[in-house]
């Protein structure tokens, strides 16, 4: 058996029994002897660690935990409610704002579309009105309407 085999064996067995052949090698090889001593040390240390008293839960641990869980659930349900309501409120506000903007930008119906929009945006109505809105209509026969002024 060579040193590598012995060390593999020692790693697996820890402080367990070695075969006579392995024992003979260890007795002659200082390096493997050291590894075996190390393995025994570690094994003994593990035993000592396993025997160590584990800390116990403090009095009322479970009850305190349940109370915290109930609080957490309540809080979670509440925040979920507010989150849902809040999200709906934001969506509704956005939808309303968009609808308002569209109602201001877009005119009510077809032929005056360009003019109304242009007026709202502060553009020159003349340049718009020089184009016929309706095929065959006279450019002078204007449909343009400026807010606050009655058509002639």
């Amino acid at each position: 058996m060579d040193c590598k085999e012995i060390r593999d064996l020692v790693s697996d067995l820890g402080a367990g029994e070695l075969s006579p052949e392995a024992r003979e090698h260890v007795s002659k090889c200082a390096g493997c002897g050291g590894v075996l001593r190390g393995a025994r040390l570690v094994q003994a240390g593990f035993r000592a660690l396993a025997e160590e008293a584990v800390p116990e839960a403090s009095f009322g641990f479970a009850a305190r935990l349940v109370r915290r869980l109930e609080e957490w659930e309540e809080k979670g349900a509440r925040s979920e409610f507010f989150e849902t309501v809040g999200r709906r409120f934001v969506y509704a506000t956005l939808a309303l704002t968009l609808a308002l903007l569209l109602s201001l930008v877009l005119p009510t119906s077809g032929p005056v579309r360009g003019v109304g929009g242009a007026d709202f945006l502060g553009l020159q109505a003349d340049s718009q009105s020089s184009q016929p809105d309706v095929i065959g209509a006279d450019p002078g026969d204007s449909h343009d309407w400026i807010p606050g002024r009655l058509p002639d």
């Binding site: 020692v10 790693s11 040390l41 003994a44 593990f46 660690l49 584990v54 659930e73």
Partner: protein, 199 residues
């Protein structure tokens, strides 16, 4: 036998109640498993002052995830898996503050520990010697990579079988065997390095 069966049935009913949102029923499960979880957490983390907080976090996680528990494995295994994963995350986080412990050991106690190793079965150790040995191997474990520390602790301190560890860590038993072998070997190599540094 019948008592065991009725306990199992009671536990299943309890879990089902918790799955429907009954936190009070979870209290019974906590009482039943708290010592097991404290033991896993203590052995993996080895910080007495942190054990209760970590155990509480484990139970909290379990409560939040209990709807996903499908009775495929035992509740104890499922809960232990949460504890192991939680400790693994914790250890990875605190890993940054890793220090070399060997230098903190007095030369005398180091030699004493060495001498203990020469006895094949170091029985009859007095309290002080046990503490020294415990301290030494505890520190050796703390120096090990987190994965090695987890698997060695579960095997050597929690006394889980290879199959149980495989179940806990979602690994094949053959993988666990290989990892255990490597972890032990690495630990011995680390010990050897320390000896050479000390010479």
């Amino acid at each position: 036998m019948a008592r065991l069966e009725s306990e199992v049935i009671r536990e299943i009913e309890c879990i089902q109640r918790v799955q429907q949102g009954d936190a009070e029923a979870f209290g019974h499960l906590v009482e039943r498993y708290q010592q097991r979880i404290f033991s896993i957490v203590f052995h993996l983390v080895r910080r007495r002052d942190e054990v209760e907080d970590l155990a509480q976090e484990v139970f909290f996680k379990a409560f939040r995830a209990i709807r996903s528990y499908n009775f495929q494995s035992s509740f104890a295994t499922w809960l232990s898996r949460i504890a192991v994963n939680h400790c693994y995350d914790y250890l990875r986080k605190v890993r940054a503050s890793r220090i070399s412990y060997y230098s903190e050991m007095a030369e005398e106690s180091a030699r004493e520990v060495e001498r203990k190793a020469e006895s094949p079965q170091p029985q009859g150790l007095d309290h002080g010697e046990k503490v020294t040995l415990r301290d030494f191997v505890g520190k050796l474990l703390a120096r090990a990579p987190v994965g090695d520390r987890m698997i060695l602790t579960l095997k050597e301190l929690e006394d889980y079988s290879v199959e149980e560890i495989a179940d806990l860590l979602n690994l094949k038993a053959s993988t666990v065997k290989v990892r255990l072998h490597r972890a032990r070997k690495r630990m011995l190599e680390d010990l050897e390095r320390w000896r050479q540094e000390g010479e």
